[in-house]
Every structure is written in structure tokens, then in C-alpha cells.
Amino acid sequence: MLFDTTQLALERSISGAAQRQEALAANLANADTPGYQRVDVDFHGALAAAMGSADPRSAVAQTTFATQADGSVGAVRADGSTVDVDAESAKLAANALEQESAVQVLHARLGILKSAMGVS
């Protein structure tokens, strides 16, 4: 068992952040689309549920994420679009940082494995 649950969770969270990036990019792209409803990916929630299950290792490894319409935000524009460009930009920046931090931690853990194996 080379990769532990944390390693798998980091890998899944990078994948989730990539999927969320797509969703947020689509929201920004559709900022001027009449009646558009914003979408989002709750990969934190999906991973937290997997970590809390009876067999976290396999649950985390099999976690997939759903891009879903976000009904919690009302229309912010006269044309019925629920996209707030400022909020989306902020979420986009935060998501990129989350992804980067997951990559950094994964990188550090891979470095530990490598040094244990004696490869540099």
C-alpha cells in the first residue's frame, strides 16, 4: 500500500478543484446569458463524506464529483442570470489557491516517499 488515504484524498481534491475550475469558468463565460443559472462543484463536501465513511480509503479513491446547478443564489441581473462576476472571480482565485496548496502538499509527500526509496 504505497499511497495512503491522505495521498488519495489529495489526488481527488486536485481533480475536484479542476472540475470546479471548469464550472466557475462556465459561470463567468455565461455572465451575459439571459436566465443562466450558476453551477458549482461541492468537492469538499463529497470528500468529507468519503473520509467519514466506514472504509475511507476505497470511498475516497472512488469519489466522483457532480457539477450541479446552484439554486441558493437569486437572480442578480435584470435578465435573470444568477452570475455575480465579482463573486465568481473571487471563487475562481480561491479555487486556484486551494488546488495549488493541494499540489504543494502532494509534492512534498511524494518527496518523502522518494527519499525513503533512495531516489532523488
Binding site: 462556465a26 457532480a66 457539477t67 509534492h107
Partner: protein
């Protein structure tokens, strides 16, 4: 998972916003056009955007390997529609197109509205370029794992 999904989505938005800018420029250029090809004053045009439902190879692959559901596809222009409101009448008896009372029907182009639209599409373009850069940076960071 489509590796460059985010970039493709932002690219579709850049195309759509550029079309909006082109149409706004045409409206501004024709703000004084009292006779179009159909003999009527120019009518301002507007781009209607719509969401793209993802199809094709990417959607099939995503469904087949089960990596995430409901992936978005971006934006596209649904069409260019004409604004059917009437332009204002201007008193200009010397104009060859003036009516019996000396009034000329002007295009329904309001330069202030067009300038606001232009700023809107320009800012939207910038926002999507920023999103594209963020996507690119994310892929680069992930590739750094191999180093």
C-alpha cells in the same frame, strides 16, 4: 476529465464577447444611418447569448469513465436580433428623406447605451482572460508534480 475544459470554456466566452463588441461597433458606426439596404433607418442590433450543452467526444468519454457529471460546455451566440423600437424624429427639412412635415426618422441607436455595452463586453472579456490564465496556471502547477 477533459484536461483543457476550463480553457475551452473561457475561449468560447472570448469569442462571444468579441462578437458583442463587433456588433456594438456596428451600431455606433451606423448611429446616423437614416437609410439602410431596405430603405428604412438602421436598427440597432444586439447579440443574444446562450449556454452550450457539452456533447461530442469529451462528454462521451466523461460519461464512460465516470469522472464527474454535468460538466459545463461554455457559451455561444444564439443569434443577433434587431431592436424593434422606433428611433426619434429629428427636424431637418433639408434632408432628402424628410417627410412632409420636415422630420427625418433617425436610427434607434443611443450612443450612451452602446458605450455602456462596449464597456460591459470589454470587462467581461478581461474577466474571462483572467479565468483562462488561472486555468492555465492550475494545469502548469499540476504538471510540476512530475518534476
Amino acid at each position: 476529465m477533459s484536461l483543457f475544459g476550463g480553457i475551452e470554456i473561457s475561449a468560447s466566452a472570448l469569442t462571444a464577447q468579441r462578437l458583442r463588441m463587433d456588433v456594438t461597433a456596428e451600431n455606433l458606426a451606423n448611429a446616423q444611418t437614416t437609410r439602410g439596404a431596405n430603405g428604412q433607418p438602421y436598427r440597432r442590433k444586439e447579440v443574444v447569448l446562450q449556454e452550450v450543452q457539452r456533447g461530442g467526444f469529451g462528454a462521451q468519454l466523461t460519461a464512460a469513465i465516470g469522472t464527474g457529471s454535468g460538466r459545463p460546455g461554455g457559451v455561444e451566440a444564439a443569434g443577433v436580433v434587431e431592436d424593434q423600437t422606433q428611433g426619434k424624429l429629428v427636424y431637418d427639412p433639408g434632408n432628402p428623406y424628410a417627410n412632409a412635415q420636415g422630420y427625418v426618422r433617425m436610427p434607434n441607436v443611443d450612443t450612451v447605451t452602446e458605450m455602456v455595452d462596449l464597456i460591459d463586453s470589454s470587462r467581461a472579456y478581461e474577466a474571462n482572460v483572467t479565468a483562462m490564465q488561472a486555468s492555465k496556471q492550475m494545469f502548469t502547477k499540476t504538471l510540476d508534480l512530475l518534476r
